[in-house]
């Protein structure tokens, strides 16, 4: 296989990380909503934690992007 082709395929494979990030973000917001609907009074207090969880889950997907960019531009 051409090294250039392998790089492109590898960069494409790295985007699979987005699947995990999608599951994570969906899980966080879904859990927050179901919890907030059960106990709306407690929902406001957990909003910072929601944002924190969102940022942490989103970052894992971006690690995949970093791998893809390293493959495309650095190696």
């Amino acid at each position: 296989m051409e090294p250039e082709a392998a790089k492109l395929i590898g960069a494409g494979l790295a985007t699979i990380a987005l699947a995990g990030a999608g599951v994570g973000i969906g899980n966080i917001f879904g859990s927050y909503l179901s919890g907030a609907l059960r106990n709306p009074a407690a929902a406001q207090g957990q909003f910072p934690n929601l944002l924190l969880g969102f940022a942490l889950a989103e970052a894992t997907g971006l690690f995949g992007l970093v791998v893809a960019l390293i493959l495309l531009f650095v190696i």
Binding site: L51, L52, F54, A55, V66, L72
Partner: protein, 271 residues
């Protein structure tokens, strides 16, 4: 400079002019979305064989620090008991970070409040400055974010050893596990501790870089689709810019809160 040409080209989509600037690997795109991250030397300074040039990155760091410092100093200059709008912003941000430190580190973490506050305001100012079109996003470079994360990591580790002496190493041995599992878990704990600066820096840098690249890519769609089809990506850009401002704030918040959590680990060591 080539930077200005690219910016013009972005606006007017001069395909011919672009062709000379677009790197091979970018292939068919009208312009290069990575060009906005290019560091250019504004003032050439070479001291003792080290390149210490004043770059656009350094310029935007200076701007960020100047804005934060002058704003916080002058807005509370009046010391009004009933704060005005400007004083309110400073007091709100102070109280926001103070609450973060109080909730996550505890009362003996208050002495580290100035550090967390400076860190938060610096990252926030850099992130928000980057949202201004044609400006430079300082935090979209791993060199900057890793330097910040390394300061946090080394500082927290030193604080842990000063506070607990050699007993800080017990941090890597989770309590209440079978003896047979200790060697394995110690290795895992040490690795997870050592990856902290990497995840802390890559999180901030990747978020900033990905967001700005995506905005630029969609800006390219607007140019490519023209006056008729370009409204859809334009609407997306407007919505996404709002999300990006949120993320700019959120990443500064996450950076500061993780610093607090690491500080808490070093100070209290409960596992």
């Amino acid at each position: 400079m080539a930077a200005d040409q690219i910016k013009l080209a972005l606006l007017q989509a001069h395909a011919a002019e672009d062709a000379s600037h677009v790197p091979e690997s970018m292939g068919h795109s009208v312009f290069d979305p990575m060009h906005q991250f290019e560091i250019t030397r504004l003032v050439d300074i070479h001291l003792f064989g080290v390149d210490m040039s004043f770059t656009n990155s350094a310029l935007f760091m200076v701007i960020a620090i100047t804005i934060v410092a002058t704003f916080t100093i002058f807005s509370v200059g009046g010391r009004a008991i009933i704060p005005g709008r400007m004083q309110s912003i400073t007091e709100l941000s102070y109280e926001f970070v103070a609450k973060m430190v109080r909730d996550n580190v505890g009362s003996d973490g208050q002495r580290y409040f100035p550090f967390v506050f400076s860190l938060f305001m610096f990252v926030l100012a850099c992130n928000l400055l980057g949202m201004i079109p044609y400006s430079f996003t300082v935090t979209s470079h791993i060199a900057i974010t890793f330097a910040l994360a390394a300061i946090v990591f080394l500082g927290v580790t030193v604080i842990g050893f000063i506070r607990h002496g050699i007993g800080f190493l017990k941090f890597f041995v989770p309590s209440g596990i079978p003896v047979a599992l200790v060697p394995l878990l110690v290795v895992i704990e040490v690795i997870s501790y050592l990856t902290r600066p990497i995840s802390l820096s890559v999180r901030l840098f990747a978020n900033m870089m990905a967001g700005h690249t995506m905005l630029k890519v969609f800006a390219g769609f607007v140019v490519a689709m023209g006056a008729i089809g370009g409204w859809l990506p334009l609407a997306f850009i407007v919505a996404f810019t709002g999300l990006e401002v949120l993320i700019a704030f959120l990443q500064a918040y996450v950076f500061a809160i993780l610093t607090c959590i690491y500080l808490n680990d070093a100070l209290h060591m409960h596992h």
